[in-house]
Amino acid sequence: MDAKTRIARRVAQELHDGDVVNLGIGLPTLVAHHLPSNIEVCLQSENGFIGLAPLTGEPEPGLVNAGGQPCGLAPGGAMFDSAMSFALIRGGHVDVTVLGGLQVDQHGNLANWMVPDKMIPGMGGAMDLVTGAKRVIVAMEHCTKDGAPRLLERCTLPLTAAARVSLVVTELAVFSCDRGRFTLEELAPGVDLATLAARTGAGFDLALPAAAHHRNSLRSMC
């Protein structure tokens, strides 16, 4: 299983039955393929609808996802304009947003929309999603292609939103962000703490045993 698939599978386990979820372009889109069979979520697409589904059959005119690709529509879907789409997003009507990241820091800050002088695609809907969704999950590879850590004490790239990230899922570990520190919630199979620490640009706490009843997966994996 490659890193991206591993990350997508793990993120999928964070979703609950009935959640309204927005999945970003790229890696987060994969999450849709790994949902547990006993839950049903409603996918919101920021270009203007709920009920995003995989394309089955012929593409329908005008029915595309937020990446502009033809997609399907689940029964019970509903279309709306961009003001309504972002009223839903900003107004807290989206339970979970899953986005890729360039950097996340221990204060819950996320940077994922530009690299000055290099790559300036624009923020699209990301700033609204990170600001407005009830829960923000960042799904990203643990380090850059050059091996530089993406989890940092302080982001160096321009922020998408401040102090909004709840959870970071990488191929190595799962961290929560709270009170200015990362907390290690889970280590991926075969990864040891020393390796993780070496590849992480910030210190982190271990989930306390006292809280372990909330963190069964950590207990079982460590």
Partner: protein
Amino acid sequence: MQATDTKRRSKLACPDELNHHLRDGMRIMFGGFMGVGTPERLVAAILRHGARRLTLIGNDTAFPHSGVGPLIASGQVERVITSHIGTNPVTGRKMLAGQIAVELVPQGTLAERIRCGGAGLGGVLTPTGVGTMVAEGKMRQLIDGREYLLELPLRAELAILHAKRADQAGNLVYERAARNFNPLMALAADKVIAEVEEIVDTGEIDPDQVMTPGILVDHLILAESH
């Protein structure tokens, strides 16, 4: 991805469902304009339940015997945030007698305040009310040489809506001028209950024609057939 063939839950509830969400002192938004688009069965349920010290938020207090009028008469309402009370003399009498507090808000401003509350916005600048009593105590802001008032968001714990048709997933379609404030309030309350005249299977409403997405609606109640 969500399977399209798994069991689809229905949001259809029995009329008593409303009782679980009522409590004294709560804020309730109600759809409707002169009673048109107001869920009369849900209003009757609040009357039967007897919750008191309510704050009602809606366009107007309708007439003594329709819309939310009966709730005004029953003495369950402590405060109303509305644009117009002229068609219900009971509201005016109770206001002058000090039995009901009435906050009058220009209709367009009321719509925007509710929209802000539902859309995560902190407020909106409107020219409406500048130079009138409505401006008292409000922050003013010059934009491009024109004066605006800062109007703040409104939210409620419960919204009661009326729609013509729903599917089991809660997607709503309104009919004619009964739409009015209903779609705005669907965004702006912690709990949203819609009274509908007809419920169809999920998938039977063209997604382009949905006026309130089902994710905003918690429960559906069937209006009594006449």
